[in-house]
């Protein structure tokens, strides 16, 4: 009985993990190309969540329509932030970009709060479910999972098969060399940043397909931490590493919840969230410091 429950939860974890992973790809992409940590990451996910909320509640459209809309909004936001702020800080000390991305996150939170208020909201998308015996998967969750995987695949093809993607890879490998070959590094940066943000905002929509409740301006914070854990799991610079890191994380998160629920006298939900943080510290501890210290 417990085993069934565990397996059921693990399947849910895998499905959620795909979404988590996709949500982290933008973070890893931005860090890989620009060497910038987007500390405001969660806030962009939150923006995506609100886009899904709004398209559903105000426009009556299914969240699938929200996906391209979120992507465009994300790309626009990314370009806006890049050209107005990030570009000017490329030579500044690291602290500057950390604080600026953090502040961007705060700004987004406040703007969304201004427009939508701070109550918790949600939407209900009745599309039926898939019964797997061990567990029940609403089609919305399945769609979120498949959507995430699809986007990850699309990104792979874009990075490896298009000119723009190749330009991006060249900048990652050797900034100066790429310049010498005629690559407009600043444009690659702008594009990569915009793409990273677009992916992140889109993932917010997918996330609401999985968890369509609890949407509020402050929901981003918890996801920032999870994203960092996943990114570090997956190697921090590789978006594909992030995707698989997400799967692993989803499994651990859900598996641990089931196990914690068995222990009397503890609160499993809180403990699971503590686990995310503990994982981060453990990974940072056991990885040879050489790898993480390298720039």
């Amino acid at each position: 009985m417990v085993l069934e429950q565990l397996l059921g939860n693990l399947i849910q974890g895998l499905v959620l993990g795909a979404v988590y992973g996709m949500a982290t790809m933008g973070l890893s992409l931005i860090f890989g190309v620009l060497r910038i940590v987007n500390v405001g990451h969660g806030a962009f996910i939150m923006v995506g969540a609100f886009i899904a909320l709004w398209t559903f509640n105000a426009l009556g459209l299914s969240p699938i329509v929200a996906l391209p809309l979120a992507f465009v909004v994300g790309a626009a936001l990314g370009l806006l932030f890049y050209y107005s702020v990030i570009q000017r800080l490329l030579q500044a000390p690291e602290l500057a970009t950390l604080l600026v991305t953090f502040s961007m996150g705060v700004l987004l939170q406040e703007v969304v709060k201004l427009i939508f208020g701070s109550e918790f909201r949600g939407y209900n998308w009745p599309v039926g479910k898939l019964d797997l015996g061990l567990t029940v998967l609403p089609y919305s969750k399945l769609l979120a999972c498949v959507g995430s995987a699809a986007i990850a695949l699309l990104l792979y093809f874009w990075v490896n098969r298009t000119r723009a993607g190749t330009a991006m890879r060249s900048v990652v490998d050797d900034r100066v060399g790429a310049q010498v070959c005629g690559v407009n590094v600043n444009r690659v940066f702008a594009m990569s940043f915009a793409l990273g943000i677009a992916l992140t905002v889109t993932s917010g929509v997918l996330l609401t397909m999985f968890i369509p409740v609890g949407i509020n301006p402050y929901m981003g914070g918890g996801y920032t931490l999870k994203a960092f854990v996943i990114a570090v799991l997956g190697g921090l610079t590789s978006p594909y590493g992030a995707f698989f890191g997400g799967l692993v994380f989803g499994l651990i998160e859900n598996g641990s919840y089931t196990l914690f629920a068995l222990i009397p006298g503890v609160e499993p939900f809180a403990l699971t969230r503590f686990l995310s943080f503990a994982m981060l510290l453990v990974i940072l501890l056991i990885r040879p410091t050489g790898i993480l210290k390298a720039k």
Binding site: V39, V85, F277
Partner: protein, 332 residues
């Protein structure tokens, strides 16, 4: 560098804090505002010891405020029944807050401070949340219910005294902490510690080759900063509102405010956090009349502008202008 000018920069500090105290004490109705300003200045000074002097940002900073609050709460609630300790309980509360903040910062630092820049920031992002969920998850110290110790505080101090503490003496204590933080900041800045920190802030690799054990100095700054935060939490939070509730005392909101205060005033300067605290505190107070709860909407873009255009903050710019003048001795 002669002896008399060594402590000259403390004069503006003393002036501002004295002014805040006197205005609050002797102008009817102003104590609350002054107390709030003192809190922000103290928070800024404490945070500046780490952010300003090392150039590293600890996104989980509020955890130290929270743990200090717990320190005081635990002392008061557990020792209230021991007769004869009286005010000693409060003293022990501060001591416990200090010890707990030191232990937590050592634990976090042991992992995080070995990491460089961005990786350190990543490691600290979840510290406040993580610690909160640990407390809730394992139901430590009453878990998510928190600790309410109003009754015990009354028991320890007597009703009237407890009320005086909550409305007056706790804030005076914050003033004392702020002054202490300023003194420590100056002492650090003028000593080997300060110069080592300047070096590692500028160029960590060159600093190492120059013979500076960068990890040691980062730890010193980190623990000092955490200890002051713990004392502030014990005083301004625990003693003013005698209950501690995990979601409240580990809220990232306070870290955001600390960042704003330090950057606005001038990171790494002595007077910066004071100026930042005053600007932020006063603005927030008056903005609350117009657009309550939205001061961050105004300040977030301000901070972005500061980072891009005026990274040295108000006092930083003032410092540059007055560097070779007589006034320059007081503004650092």
């Amino acid at each position: 560098m002669n002896g008399s000018s060594k402590y000259a920069p403390l004069i503006p500090v003393a002036v501002v804090y004295a002014a805040l105290f006197l205005v609050g004490r002797y102008t009817p109705g102003f104590w609350q505002l002054m107390a709030t300003l003192l809190f922000y200045c103290a928070l800024g000074q404490a945070f500046n010891i780490f952010l300003g002097l090392t150039g590293y940002v600890d996104f989980g900073y509020v955890a130290f405020l929270g743990i200090g609050t717990y320190g005081m709460a635990l002392c008061v609630s557990r020792l209230a029944d021991h007769p004869g300790l009286g005010w000693g309980v409060i003293a022990l509360g501060f001591l416990l807050a200090l010890v707990m903040a030191t232990l937590l910062s050592m634990a976090v630092g042991a992992v995080a401070l070995r990491l460089r820049g961005a990786y350190f920031a990543i490691a600290t992002v979840g510290v406040n949340e993580g610690f909160r969920f640990l407390i809730e998850g394992l139901r430590i110290w009453n878990g998510s219910e928190g600790i309410i110790f109003t009754a015990q505080l009354n028991q320890v101090l007597g009703r009237d005294a407890a009320s005086a503490v909550s409305t007056y003496w706790a804030d005076v204590m914050v003033l004392v902490i702020a002054v202490a933080a300023a003194v420590v900041t100056l002492l650090y800045m003028r000593s080997r510690i300060g110069y080592a920190l300047v070096a590692l802030r500028e160029d960590e690799d060159a600093a190492k080759v120059m013979g500076i054990n960068v990890t040691k100095y980062k730890i010193i700054a980190f623990i000092t900063s955490a200890c002051f935060a713990g004392l502030i939490g014990a005083s301004s939070w625990a003693l003013k509102t005698p209950y501690v509730f995990p979601p409240e005392v580990f809220e990232i909101h306070y870290t955001i405010e600390a960042i704003i205060i330090v950057l606005l005033g001038g990171a790494g300067t002595l007077l910066g956090p004071i100026v930042g605290g005053l600007i932020y505190g006063i603005s927030k107070y008056y903005l609350a009349v117009i657009i309550p709860g939205f001061q961050l909407l105004i300040f977030a873009p301000i901070i972005i502008v500061i980072i891009v255009v005026f990274p040295e903050g108000v006092v930083g710019m003032l410092k540059k202008k007055t560097r070779h003048t007589a006034l320059g001795r007081y503004i650092i």
